[in-house]
Subunit: 136 residues, 2 copies
């Protein structure tokens, strides 16, 4: 894993949380993006080599809506940058981790992503992501 | 904020979780440390410029023991590296954030640290940390 690419934080309102995190990190949201396939709006802020991704549900059946209903606002996942997502997926499967998607899928921010089941990672939802484009 | 310095993860057993995270990150634990004042054992793994800090309670009254009892294993906090923790504490207070300690205190890994109340940060416990020594 090259680094923590981003931390995903589930929030009720990107507008409200965006203001908070802009103050916290003393920076501005550099990008917002809807990921319709996941039922979320996203907003990104930079912290040096890392990012914070704010996640707001766009429909009540989305994973983020369910997370918010169950746990409330808070950290949703850690995403690690990898250079070859397919190789890393094979390596993790061989180590006994359970992948939530068998093929890499398109995520926010021009990435190919794969999620690892939190039950095998001490309750932490882990995302692998490989950049498809030059990232911010 | 310079970067995400580390993500703190509350676990029931550092021995068990250490094995999992060494496999996940394809690396080894480079340091373990007891922070008696916080009632925790810690173990650190590197992911590029960032770290994962595993946290195991050493007594039932520690914040980590209470977190585990209430929420189970999972992400406990995000720590951001700052160059001048006192300046950053003043800035955040002026922005309306609530600090959990008024003076920086010694944390794991040779840091001065300060925690920010999660209620003002959309449910996320934020730690500021300033290095006192050359870090790993």
């Amino acid at each position: 894993m090259e680094k923590i690419e981003h931390i995903g934080i589930a929030v009720n309102s990107i507008e409200q949380a965006g203001n908070v995190y802009q103050k916290l990190l003393n920076t501005v949201i550099y990008k917002t993006e809807e990921v319709a396939s996941e039922g979320v709006n996203t907003a990104f802020l930079q912290a040096g080599p890392n990012k914070i991704e704010l996640l707001e549900a766009t429909n009540p059946d989305s994973p983020i809506a369910k997370f918010l209903a169950k746990k409330g606002e808070g950290i949703h996942h850690i995403a690690f940058e990898v250079t070859d997502i397919r190789a890393e997926m094979l390596r993790l499967k061989s180590e006994g981790f359970v992948l939530l998607n068998e093929e890499p899928k398109p995520g926010a921010d021009g990435k190919l992503v794969c999620f690892v089941h939190p039950k095998g990672v001490n309750g932490v939802l882990v995302e692998l992501c490989e950049s498809l484009v030059i990232s911010h």
